[in-house]
């Protein structure tokens, strides 16, 4: 079956979402470590 060729957009969106979630998770981890010291 023929699909529109737009897989690059899909990959870009998944990468952006993963980066934002991971950066926020790391920022929470770092801030918690800093305040717990």
């Amino acid at each position: 079956m023929q699909y529109p060729d737009n897989g690059g957009y899909m990959i870009a969106a998944y990468v952006v979402a993963a980066v934002v979630v991971l950066v926020y998770a790391v920022s929470l981890f770092v801030r918690l470590r800093k305040v717990s010291r």
Binding site: N6, Y9, V35
Partner: protein, 233 residues
Amino acid sequence: MMREKAEAMARRGSLLTAVALLALAGVYVRALVFTPVERFQGPAQKIFYVHVPAAWSGLLAFAITGLLSLLYLWLRDRRVDIVAAASAEVGLAFSVVMLTTGPIWAKPIWGTWWTWDARLTSTLFIFLLFVGYQVLRGAITDPETRARYSAVIGILGLVLVPFIHMTVYLFRTLHPDPVVLKPGTPSLPGDMLVTLLSAVGVFTLLYLGFLAQRYALGVLRDLKDEEAGRAVS
């Protein structure tokens, strides 16, 4: 005592976040490899499995901030204010995912990254409202004044949440209608629906993990500020 409780909450939050991140990896594999490609939109339709759950978690977080803001104005309990602020910050993180993945989907499907229609504009508006919420909290040092003023913004955000959901019905908009949160049965084939609901579940879990960690951070910061205040006086 309060410190030990907050540290225990931080540990539970970290564990929940780690589990949710692993589950998110599973959802990525299911969405990208095992979920069928939609015939007309092609692979870009799969952006839906991160965009919709991020929108759900972001708006859920803002709604919870609003409800807790109401509760704070009633009870005047500092812990309620700290959870409200925590939920607002987590909501902003999910909103960034929503506001970046949306335009990445729109470009190949609509032919434009952005259009000023009611759904997109009101979503940007709630994002900016909660950016303002964070700026306000950073600018006020007195905890009670900070909590009271930010509660008012939180309640304004709560009013916006149902409005944003209804924009696709109230206005002529390019944005697709809801496929699950609507009257009647979900308008999505079984495989796609399972992937979407799994992603919504994982993003909700991620929200709870982040919220627990951010609440613990707020409590620990509060305690540190109190200790610093006592040391000065």
